[in-house]
Structures are given as structure tokens and as C-alpha cells.
Amino acid sequence: MVLILLVRDYIDRMLHDILGMKVLVLDPQTVGMLSVVYSQSDLLKKEVFLVETMDNASSSRESMAHLKAVYFLRPSADNVQKLRRHLAMPRFAEYHLFFSNILKIQQIQILADSDEQEVVQQVQEFYADFCAIDSYHFTLNIQNNHMYMLPTVVDPPGMRSFCDRAVDGIASVFLALKRRPVIRYQRTSDVAKKIAQETARLMYEQESGLFDFRRTENSSLLLVIDRRDDPVTPLLNQWTYQAMVHELIGIENNKVDLRGYANVPKDQQEVVLSSVQDDFFRANMFENFGDLGMNIKRMVDDFQHLSKSSLNLQSIGDMAKFVSNYPEYRKTHGNVTKHVALVSEMSRIVEERRLMLVSQTEQELACTSGQAAAFEAVTSLLNNESVSDIDRLRLVMLYALRYEKESPVQLMQLFNKLASSSAKYKSGLVQFLLKQAGVDKRTGDLYGNRDLLNIARNMARGLKGVENVYTQHQPLIVQTMEGIVKGRLRDVDYPLVGNHFQQGRPQDVVIFIVGGTTYEEARSVALYNAANPGVRFFLGGSVVLNSKRFLEDLGEAHRISKSSTTI
């Protein structure tokens, strides 16, 4: 609950000292950041009786002088301008301004200038500038995520805003943790290098006073890596609960939108999957689909037993007990319905898209070698009518990433087959992917076939056989984490910024993946943390990817790069 508790703590402190009825004004980004950690009923307990966004607060003319306003905003130029208008014509009795990141002196001056009525009581910086979706997983929800795949010259302001947001988010994580880290980055990625260097400049030069925390025994580490070093993980289909829901349906800030789907009961159109509030989800979010099915069946059986026993009420005592347990009963009922709806929807999708078949081949492409067999499998699936376009694209991409250098003729055959069968396929997308994330561009040993140790490990695994074909893939980040803990992360591949040096083993490590994280990686991090209590790993990214989002980013970057080279 670590990251979630940090943000909750900030919000608690914000609201705690201000007495009386309050209104909370947010901007579109802080709404997301707040909603994942704080619920409406929590706000009501703190006497916050109205929540508004910046826009509809400025459009309304109604004066509510019996409320005190608490503003929680990102310190962007846009917000400061809107805030000026609010301060010029105040609607509330008092204004307490909290910004989620570092303010520039100029912004403070602008605000002071427009506060003619002197309604502002305090201006504070509370560094909660990230979405804490799980205990060890945060995201920044950056809109123009595809920027990271493009060179800076294509769109300098876009790249600037992307990097700034990433640096702000990372800095606020460390301020919340009260650590100043040693910074390392992936050598082959320019974007990672830029972000790492700017973060270092911020922490050690520009705001060194702010980051000057008590030096703890072991230092902490920030590792900035690029999504393109492991393009396989976002492309794979997932079979553990949280990752699977995101892959097949889509989770946004812990909310799942089931509105487009038939057979979903009316009150389950939008549901919340939060590991903090939902015990069943917390226990099962990393379980694979088979075990999950059994656990759900058990939960449904328990619930049926409970509701049957509540149906035969014999005496007044029974009735009284039922009425007093009714809120619990209703909550359990809602929870059971929610999980049943999600799992049945996912089962339907699995059936429809033949995902069992497709995913088996995907996992083999990711984990085992054997070019000829792989080619056969992929070809047969491409010929299969019931496999959808996006699945075919993924299969070809996975094959291309693995067997890029072997048998180019067969690779061309696959490209052609893909182009001919899928109408929507933009030609050259797979080649673009290879250009971005091909074997020459990657640092890490994605397939375990560079390092002798890894080859041996793979052979051992192949001989032993796997427990579950569908979850045999292990994301590259697990190797990276082991490397950090054992001190085996090579300086050549992951150099340090400036003249930092790492003394001993780091206690807190934040891994930031430029381009986005996946729930499979978050699962690996959480399981690793549980198994190794000596080190704490935090995972964060610009967005949370599933295969659809990753392909969208790829497509967007491909389109832009095509149009910019033709200019």
C-alpha cells in the first residue's frame, strides 16, 4: 500500500487543518490522481461537500461564501491562468492552494498579483504528482505517449512536454519517499538519457535544497529504461486476473468500463478494481485464469449459502440479525456480481478470439526457440479464419522480433500474408517495429540467448518443462531486478549520470519505463518484493500499456515518421 498511502497522507494533511465545510477544486489530471486513492465517502468524512473541476468552477457564477475552497492542481501554465480568473472574482470564503509539484517563482508572482481581495490563505507544494494505482505501481497517464519513439527533431515542443512531465512525476515520487537517488539510464535510448539527465539536474543542482534529505545507510536508485528494450511483454496476451482484464477489456485508473458489452447487468456498467477496497481482488489479482475460476466458484457458493440462510427467517431474532447484516450482505452481493460479470465477459472474449490457441503460439515464440516450428505455427494461425486481425499482427510481430535475422525469405512471406489478409493493416508497421526495437537496438538480453548463463538457464527450463504453458513468459524486468540486487548491472549498458556512485545495495529502487509499463511487469515487481524483503522496487511508466495501446502508439509514431520523412 506504500505509494497509495503516501498520496493519501498528502490529501489527509491538506484537508485536516481546515475546519468547516469545504469545496475541493481539481484539474483533469489531479482528478485521476485523487480518485485512485481517495473515495467520495472519505471526502465526506473530511467535510468536503463539493468537488469541482477548474472549468466548471469558473463557469458558474454562484457565490458560496459559506464554503472554504481547497485547490489541488498541477502547476501548469494553463492552471495558473485559470486560477487568476478565479481569484479575481472569488466565490468562496477562503482559498487554500496546493500544487502537486514545484512552482516557478514567476507563477507565484502572477498569482500574488491577481489576488486583490486577499482571499488566499496558504500556498503549498504537496508532491503527489503521480497516479498510485497499486502499492508498487504508479503511472503518469501521459497523453502523447507515442512521442518516445520519435526523434526530437520531429516535434520539439511535444517531446519537451513529454520529458517535463516524466521528470516532474519521477521527482515527486522521490520527494514523497524523501529520497535522493543515484540515477542510471539505458545507454541505447536517447529519451531515457535525456530524462535521466534532466532529473539529475533538478535533484542535484536546481532544487538541491529541497532534495537534501538525511543520507540513509543505503542509497536509493532510479533506473530509467525504454519500453523498446522489451517490446514482447506488451504484445503478449495475459492470463493473470488484473493483467487479463486490462488486456481484454481495459482498466483506466482502476476503473473498468463495461458499457459496450452485452449481457452485463445494469449496475455493473462501470466497476472498480481496487486492491485496497476489494479483498477478493487483492487475493486474486495475480492468479492465473484457472485458479481464478475456482476461487470465484467458491465465492459464489459461499454467497449462495449465505443468501439461502437469510431467506428462511424464523424468529424476530433472525430478522433483526438479517437487517443488521444487510449492508454487509449488499456489499458482498455487489462484489460477487462484479467479479462474475468480469470473468464471464473475459471467457466469452477468449472463446470468440480463440485466444487459447493463439496465446500458446505467442508464448512459444516468446520463450522457446525453434524457427521452423515457429514459422509453421504462425502460418497455420494466419490461415485460420477465426483469428482476428490484431492477433495476427501480434503473432507476426512476435515472430519478427525473435527470428529477425534468420530466414528473411520466410519473414517476407509472413509480411505479405499479413498485408493481404488484413485490410486495415498499414504496411510497414512490423518493419517499423523492428527498426525501433530490433535486436540491434536492444540492450537487455530479451530472449536469454546472449549471455552464457542465460542460455544455460533456458536449457534447464526447457528440460524441466513448464508448469503452465500460458504463463511461462517472464518479463525482462525480472532479470534487471535481479541484476540490481546482485550488483550485476553492467555500467556499459546502464551508465550512471554524472559522477554519482552506487555504494552497496540500494534499498529503494524506482524503475521508470519510458513508453509505459504493463500489468504483467507490475505483477512481477509485486511478487519479487514479497519474496525479497530487503529491497523495495517501485515500477512506474508514462502510461499502462496493453497490446492495443502499444500498437496504437506504434501506429501513430509510424504515421508521423512517414509523413515527416516525405516532407
Binding site: S41, L50, H66, Q109, D113, V123, S324, N335
Partner: protein
Amino acid sequence: MATRNRTPLYRKYRDALRHVRSPAGAPSSSGGGGGGPLIEMASLLRSDRTYAPLSTDDPSASSRGAVMVGLPPAWVDVSEEISANMQRAKMKMGELAKAHAKALMPSFGDGRDDQRAIELLTHEITDLLKRSEKRLQKLSMKDSSEDSNVRKNVQRSLATDLQNLSMEFRRKQSSYLKQLRQQKEGQDGVDLEMNINGSKSTFEDDEFEDVGFSEVQMSKLKKSEAFTREREREIEQVVESVNELAQIMKDLSVLVIDQGTIIDRIDYNIQSVAASVEEGCKELQKAERTQKKGGMVMCATVLVILIFIMIVLLILKKIIF
């Protein structure tokens, strides 16, 4: 957790800019324009030393401030009254718990005073809760202004508190009821516990083996009958209040938010407010259009014209004749 207080710097700029804006104005007392360090690192404890409530700010600002802090709307008084009621109910519940414990303890005297005290307290608490609930229902009235959102949320939070209070009250009552029942059975059963009336168990009676009822037995029977009746009455009362509270709970459960569901999400509530405001706008526009096109306007216009024509004809008639 690091935070940084920018208020001193902010006030410094604000004061400086105020002087620039109105150079004739006398320098006001320093609410916070102290020359403290520009960057203040906050510790884990509260860092709001420079936060001063509105009333203790410099006098010139407070006169302006007085205009700002308008009177709160009337419903705020209602909500404050409800929360005061609930506070009182909570206090009384504490007293009731003590009275329950005392009544259940074996005592030599007649437990009637205790019973009365318990009854009184129970009635008072039920009354307070019922009244609070009625006022709560009244709190959500018409008007679709922004204020209504605030009212709805105030209502929700009070409803949650009220529901928790009712549940706790009912739990206390049912446990008292259970213990009462146990005591009643204990009197009829074959154990040797001393109960309130101090009558002994029937174990000794069996030793007499009389066929008829002796005098001692008759009086004992009468006493135990009276006792049983009293106990039954008590139990009925408790059950009645349990049922009343069940009713309150049912009404309240509509108001209370289920934790962990989508309605408990801040972003969902903001969206739905925005959506409903938009829809309301659309409905209004549609209503306007239908009204304009409506037959009513046509009819009214036609009738007015006819009236004018009639008046003209009347005047003409008068003139001609």
C-alpha cells in the same frame, strides 16, 4: 513526506504588489510578510504555521473579508441541528450501556428503577434518531443549483453517521435482549444462579412431592408469573424499538453510498454531474423549442387578435348607431 510552504514568499509578493497598485495606502500590519527563509522544508509535523484564519488578519483586510463571508444558507442550520442531535444520542447510548450492565447484575432490591431508567433512555434515543432521520429527509429539497450538490453530500455523510449509530444502538439492544432471555431461562431451568427476584429454582420444590399446590407454591407461582409477564413486556418493548430502527435503516440505506463501488469514485461523480448538467441544458432547449412551436402560443395569438377585432366591431357599432 516532503512538502514546501510557499506562503511567506507569496505574501511578500502580494504585499509588494499591493503597494505598487495603491501607493497611497498605508502599509498594513504584517499578516505574514515576515522575512522568513524563502524555502522552508517542512517536517513530518504540520507545516502550516503561517496559516492564519480570516478573522485574525490585518484589520483592513477583515472589513473586506466580512463582505466575503456571507451568511450560510438556512439548511446549514438544519444540518448542524441534526449533528447535534446525533451527538446527544451518542452520549445517551453511553448512559444506556451503563444502565443495561447495572440491570443485568444480580441485585437485592427491586429492579424496577433500573427498568424505568432503561425504558426512558431507550425511548429518548429512539426519539432522537427518528427526529434526526425526518429532518434528514427534509434536507434534500427542490432547487437544482450548485448548492444542491453540497446539500446532497452533507445529507449523505449525515446519513452514514446516522446509520452507524442506529446499528450500534440495535446491536446493544439485541445483546441486552439476549442476556435478558438467558436470565429468564436461567430462572426456569435447573441451575442455581441468583436472579433479580431472588426466587429459588424449582429443584427444591420437587423434593416435596406434593400432589396439589401448597400455599408456598401458589405464592411462588404467582410471583414467577408476574415476573414472566414483566419480562415479556420488556422483551416486547425492545423488539419494538428494534423494528423501528430497522425501518430507519431501510430508509437510510438508499442515501448511504456503498463503499468500493463506482458511485464512491470522485471522478465518476464529477462526470455524472457534468453529464446531468449537460442533459439538463439539452432538455431545457428542447422544452423551449416545443413550447415555441406549441399550439398554445398559436391559440393565444389567435384569440388576442379576435378580441381586438371584436373591440373594433363594437366601437364601429356604437359609432354607426
